[in-house]
Amino acid sequence: MIHNLEKIFIDKRSVNSEVADRARQIFPKNKIEIVENEPWSEIKRNLTAEEFDRSKKNIFLTPFDGQFFKRCPGSTQKKVLNCCNYHVLNLGSQCPMNCSYCYLQSYLNSPVSKIFTNIDQALSELKMMADTNSHLPFRVGTGEIIDSLALDPLTLYSRKLISFFTQYPKWTLEFKTKSDQVDQFLDLGPSQNTVVSWSLNADYVIQKEEHGTASLNDRLGAALKCIQAGFSVAFHLDPLIYHTNWQENYTELVSRITTQFLPEQVNVISLGTLRFQPEQRHMMKKRFGLNSLVTQAEMFPSEGAKLRYDASLRNEMFKFVYNLFKNNSDRWKIFLCMETPETWISTFEAQPLQKPELKDMFRPLPSIG
């Protein structure tokens, strides 16, 4: 995936960073440029479709001056969605892969991908918070505005993070990816408080909507490698996308998971259906046309101002996939991500706090971000 990058811009302030060193080892000289300012910084507005495409192929290695440690976006929404005790650590922004539904299309307006080179500062920020809350089961994820692992062969940040988290066994580090880039940290296992999680989808959906991502086979293969090396693994069947043969295709996906993994090997499986901000739809149509399951989707205004499928269709999809797992074994731990209490109740007949296997994940913790 890193080889799809066309240009690596290195901020003058980051020339001596470890990431810059690695970039110089990996990429030919003509792909690297040292700059004083962020490329295309004159663009101070929403990106056009072309500029957004370009931002995926150009990366800027630069220090980050703001706050690294943030709380999960779901927990800041006005009307309370059920969301897990999840915190995000942004070590960069943008993603070299290209999913048609990606929420970064309405979220990012930086004209270039970024990798923040001052990870040590991020870790010391994290240490200050972890030292006072080491007894609490916080989860920290790095995949909010960047895929956690797609660029990891360049940054190797996974290695620093995994080592850091071994000091805080109650805390959980969560990588979230659609790549298969895991080889660079496998030797650091076992590490049960590192959860490597994959967004999975039916093969058909991956081919049609998740451009440039690893195939289902490769994602599952990488998950198996992680388990063998002693890491925890989780899966996000998210977004479930409605299409003509959705039942067959998702049955096939669940059967691939249930035949290759045991419920005890998978920390949790989250389910989510397609959703996006209304303002994102024009950008998606421009970038992917109307021959996409996502741009053609029948979406309606819903909770949190997002567009979602009809609520009864969502319930049907959740129940269908949920039952596929539960018919295989009661031991699979399933939860719904970014869903309303109504959907939880109609799918599971319970709110998350009423489900024993999910209680810990949803119990409110003090805010530290």
Binding site: R45, T48, H282, K285, E298, P301, S302, A311, S312, L313
Partner: protein
């Protein structure tokens, strides 16, 4: 100085409102900036052109607001750039300059005057016109004409634009889309949801005759709007029992 032939009309952007005949027209050096509609002997105040900032202040005081089509016509006037700077002009009228806005202004400029007037009158914004950018000229003309023919509220017009643009890109022919009402367009755009809604609304449930029910879609939810009157606790109890029965049946059939 008299309006014509002493002044040039290159900045005539056909403002929606006519300049009042009782007020002198104004010019920037030899270019009129208002009163284009007035007769040749109308008096004119002439301001010497100083710089683009000054021109903008003058323009803004004459036209505190300009609609998108008016801006499009002004920007396209042959001498525009001699007097104004485009980004500051857009900012002064609360728009953010962007390649997309430029495309929309071009598109509007190329639309017929009926559609331009419609956009001005309904105060339709740039984001609401974005779907038109994805069509070729013939289809764009079809959509704008359909919107004009339907002559709906702003909200419905904007919805129609998006529905038609989506449906055309989803390979529907313009012949099948002609003269359809919003419901018909929605059925075409949302076939799965429409058929689910139809089967829910047709589900036979044991409603009491004292309960008025109407099938309704509200955002991502479809269901029944129900209304009833209870004069005594006994009546209310009966209705509640009926509702419980309806809920049980509905659950079975869902």
């Amino acid at each position: 100085m008299k309006l014509k032939p002493d002044f040039l009309m290159d900045l005539d952007f056909k403002p929606s409102n006519e300049w009042p005949a009782s007020v002198p027209a104004l010019a920037l050096s030899n270019q009129l900036i208002c009163g284009f509609n007035l007769s040749s002997h109308h008096p004119v105040f002439e301001h010497t052109f100083q710089n683009q900032d000054h021109s903008l202040i003058l323009l803004k005081s004459i036209y505190p607001q300009l609609t998108l089509p008016e801006l499009a016509r002004l920007i396209k006037s042959p001498v525009f750039s001699q007097y104004f700077e485009i980004d500051s002009l857009l900012k002064a009228y609360q728009y953010h300059a962007s390649p997309e806005l430029t495309e929309i202004l071009n598109l509007l400029f190329n639309c017929n005057s009926d559609f331009q007037n419609f956009v001005s009158f309904k105060k339709i914004g740039p984001q609401e016109l974005v779907p038109l950018l994805m069509l070729d000229e013939d289809n764009r003309i079809f959509v704008t004409q359909e919107v004009l023919n339907a002559n709906e509220s702003k909200q419905d017009s904007v919805k129609r634009i998006e529905l038609l643009c989506d449906l055309i890109q989803m390979k529907n022919t313009t012949e099948c889309l002609q003269d359809l009402n919003q419901n018909q367009l929605l059925q075409l755009r949302h076939p799965v949801t429409t058929s689910r809604d139809q089967s829910l609304s047709a589900t036979s449930l044991p409603w009491s005759s004292q309960i008025k029910k109407k099938f309704k879609r509200q955002g991502d939810k479809a269901g029944f709007d129900i209304q009833f009157f209870a004069g005594t606790p006994v009546e209310l109890n009966k209705l509640a029992q009926n509702l419980t029965k309806v809920a049980q049946e509905w659950n079975l059939k869902a």
